[in-house]
């Protein structure tokens, strides 16, 4: 898997092979640099900010925005400094031994001011309605490096906004600074090359070939790459001003690549998901399936409370539905009457499982889900093993779609050769298959696959089951539903309402990836932490908390101490140590 991690890395990292350390001088700060890097990166290491628009660490260098101009010189062995008479673009200049740069001289400051004045020449200054306001580099650099006034007296050139760029992308043409990051992205990373620059000079514009919009699976990244408000996401457009959003570091559950993400939320409502740079996981980007595929967490089908008794038999009056999303006063009164439905239902579920396992030893099966976090899987396994030593563990269906989708694509749409892969959307559409499998390994010699489990239920080997869901679409396969519904005891821990949860004796309303905390292990064995961004809807709870109480463990669900326990109990997870997971995750398997 290490080969794969390398593959994800961009061409630059090929050059980031350690070299002999060299000394460079940035604003009289002396720093050692051991990898090949440009002056922007070198200055960043020294804590000095060199403003830039067109340069991005994952894209080729064009040095077209002229924002990163600095004074450069060399220091000879005798200590004599010779400065160049002209300014050089820091993004295009490599840091060599003895390189001296000055970023705060009058000459540099003047260049920055003039560049910004030029970039803002035809900018409409419509910050008040621009979605980028608050995270816009034109705003930030204007404050830090710009001049307060424009000397332009002529009316600004106004251009038509373009709605046809892509299904998810809107282009506000007159806000563009022509950094061409988006164009380079579609050429170098996605390989689909839809975007291009048309015309020249002051009428230069970003556009697509007529009738061929930018709809590739990585298209959403151009919105993140755009340093100004020119490219906006249609999905997020005008939904929320960015300064209201609180960002939580998490992991995308869309596929086993496990992209590091930011979940941006406000008042328990997720508004967008952005990629978080993590060279260990996926790099700087993410795919549109993950970026826009989180809507189910606010879907109407979400379970909002636990339930006891089969919903199908609701007419008999046996079922007790506890839900706080019921409409009207009646539901509220019911809520008041039955303060908290959880303690009773958990107690009943626990005794029902214990009773069933006692009378039918070895006939109870636990179906784990590849959407569970490792801590949750561990809690469930230890709990059920404690109830009955003969309980069988099975893996729920592992969603797979076609082949791994690798980028950059060739002009004909063919995948690249293995050493040129820069981004992979994996066929395995779940975040934690490897992690859950590794945990079950510890409790059972061979993990039962889902078909085997269904066969076992059909031929009467198993009479009761604890089924964990977490699938975004719920359980839709009619055959599976019929088989699971035939069980004598069915306990379901799930997030969305489905025919399976309707036919369950106990439904425990769990959480989506944005509402729970725990580690997931990606295709390469990298453990990353999904963090709580919002609260679950209604009376639903985090899966960890439910399992903690179901197992009768003392204390609150604390993922770090559970990880420490996991590291001690299961040798494969020893690398988790005391359970601390950094921003970039821990390589475990």
């Amino acid at each position: 898997m290490t080969t794969n991690t390398k593959l994800i890395d961009k061409p630059e990292s090929k050059s980031s092979v350690a070299q002999a350390p060299k000394t460079v001088f940035i604003d009289n700060i002396e720093i050692e640099i051991d990898a090949k890097c440009n002056l922007v990166q070198a200055a960043e290491k020294a804590g000095v900010e060199i403003p830039h628009y067109c340069w991005h660490p994952d894209l080729s260098v064009v040095a077209s925005c002229r924002m990163c101009l600095v004074e450069m010189g060399t220091k000879s062995a005798s200590g004599e400094v010779t400065m160049l008479p002209r300014l050089v673009p820091a993004c295009q200049t490599l840091a060599n031994p003895g390189t001296v740069i000055k970023t705060n001289t009058e000459k540099v400051k003047q260049a920055q001011q003039q560049t910004l004045e030029f970039l803002l020449l035809n900018h409409p200054l419509d910050c008040s309605i621009c979605d980028q306001a608050g995270e816009c580099y034109l705003q930030d650099y204007s404050y830090k490096f710009g001049r307060p006034h424009s000397r332009l007296h002529e009316p600004k050139v106004q251009r038509q906004d373009k709605d046809h760029i892509g299904d998810q992308i809107a282009l506000f043409t007159d806000r563009c600074v022509m950094c061409t990051r988006c164009v380079r992205f579609t050429r170098e990373v996605s390989g689909t090359a839809e975007l291009q620059v048309i015309s020249r000079g002051s009428v230069e514009e970003i556009d697509v070939f007529p009738g061929q919009p930018c709809n590739n699976k990585l298209a959403g990244n151009v919105v993140d790459l755009c340093p100004v408000g020119a490219l906006c996401s249609k999905d997020f457009l005008y939904k929320k001003r960015v300064w209201w959003l609180k960002s939580v570091e998490s992991v995308c559950p869309g596929c086993s690549t496990g992209c590091s993400i930011h979940v941006d939320q406000n008042k328990d409502q997720v508004y967008r998901i952005r990629p978080r740079e993590n060279p260990q996981a996926q790099g700087s980007f993410m795919c549109d399936d993950g970026r826009f595929g989180w809507k189910y967490i606010h879907g109407e089908q979400r379970l909002t409370g636990p339930r006891q008794g089969r919903a199908l038999g609701e007419s008999n009056g046996n079922a007790k539905m506890h839900s706080s999303n019921g409409n009207g006063v009646q539901a509220n009164q019911a809520d008041l009457a039955s303060v908290d439905p959880w303690p009773d239902i958990l107690l009943n579920a626990r005794s029902a499982i214990a009773k069933f396992a006692k009378s039918n030893s070895g006939k109870f099966v636990a179906v784990l889900s590849p959407f569970m976090a490792c801590e949750e899987a561990y809690l469930l396994c230890t709990y059920l093993r404690g109830v009955d030593a003969k309980i069988a563990f099975a893996m729920g269906p592992v969603p797979r779609q076609g082949q791994d989708d690798c980028y950059p694509k060739s002009p004909k749409g063919e995948p690249p050769s293995r050493d040129k892969v820069r981004f992979t959307i994996r066929a395995e559409k779940c975040p934690n298959y490897r992690g859950v499998a590794a945990i079950v390994d510890r409790f059972q010699d061979r993990i039962l696959d889902f078909d085997g489990c269904l066969n076992g239920i059909r031929n009467g080997t198993y009479g009761g089951a604890f089924v964990v869901g977490g699938y975004p679409d719920g359980w839709t396969d009619a055959n599976t539903v019929a088989v699971l519904a035939s069980l004598k005891l069915l306990v379901v821990l799930d997030m969305v309402r489905s025919p399976v949860s309707d036919s369950a004796d106990f439904v425990l309303a769990g959480a989506s990836f944005a509402e729970r905390e725990g580690i997931v292990i990606n295709h390469g064995g990298l453990a990353q932490l999904q963090r709580v961004a919002i609260r679950p809807p209604g009376d639903a709870r985090g899966d960890g908390r439910i399992l903690m109480e179901l197992a009768g463990r003392k204390g609150l669900y604390h993922s770090q101490s559970l990880r420490a326990e996991l590291a001690k109990q299961i040798p494969k997870f020893a690398k988790l140590g005391n359970g601390e997971i950094g921003e970039e995750g821990v390589q475990v398997l």
């Binding site: 910050c127 008040s128 309605i129 002529e154 009316p155 005008y238 001003r241 300064w243």
Partner: protein
């Protein structure tokens, strides 16, 4: 009253002051050099009360001959100064559209969290909205929660929200006091037609984000 009693009575304020001081000194963090103000002891004139009654009657008689300050509200309604901060209004632009561009700056600035806006893309199909990108689909102010500080109108980059001199805001229900966009525009219609425009606005002179103003030839030369 015996001598002993008088003594104790006379000394009482002091004693109690000292006990307070002593009690305070024991408390951690009490200031040592606190100066205690004592209530003055009453003299003979004060204990008689008659002079005070006489001066009170004097005041009453004097008021009979000066101008009456009582406002006959609500029979006679006062005219508030033009910079009074009362009920909000949402201004209209020259074409009668809501001037607000839904930038959320008032909502951000509001210390009472009483403004809630929902933005949407301007209806581009409508020729009247061709030059606008974003507009407020909903704009609600909770007039009960508002503290009338005026920070919303200071924050507004397009002079769309203003506080008017309407002060007598009443309602039978809480819902009535939630002013939506239509109601706020209505306040604009009322105040702009009755000559009650607030003075803080730069009415007619708009920022660049609101309307595009053709630069004058004279400006170019200067």
């Amino acid at each position: 009253m015996t001598d002993a009693q008088t003594q104790t009575n006379g000394a009482q304020p002091q004693t109690s002051g000292e006990t307070r001081r002593a009690a305070n000194a024991e408390q951690p963090g009490a200031k040592k050099n606190v100066k205690w103000a004592e209530s003055p002891t009453l003299g003979l004139m004060e204990t008689l009360y008659l002079p005070a009654i006489a001066s009170g009657i004097g005041t009453t008689i004097r008021r009979m001959f000066v101008r009456n300050e009582t406002r006959q509200y609500p029979e006679v309604e006062p005219i508030m100064p033009a910079n009074y901060r009362g009920v909000h209004r949402l201004n209209r632009d020259s074409q009668g559209r809501v001037k607000c561009v839904a930038c959320f700056l008032c909502q951000t600035a509001c210390p009472a969290n009483c403004i809630s806006i929902e933005a949407a893309a301007a209806p581009k199909d409508d020729p009247a909205w061709q030059d606008r990108d974003k507009f407020p689909e909903k704009f609600e102010i909770d007039e009960l929660r508002c503290i009338y500080c005026g920070m919303c109108e200071q924050a507004c980059p397009v002079d769309a929200i203003e506080l008017t001199s309407i002060y007598d805001l009443t309602g039978a229900t809480r819902e009535e006091m939630m002013f939506d966009k239509e109601k706020l525009l209505e306040v604009f219609d009322i105040t702009s037609t009755t000559g009650k425009d607030p003075v803080r606005t730069t009415s007619g002179k708009l920022g660049p984000a609101s309307e595009f103003v053709e630069p004058q030839a004279t400006q170019l030369r200067s």
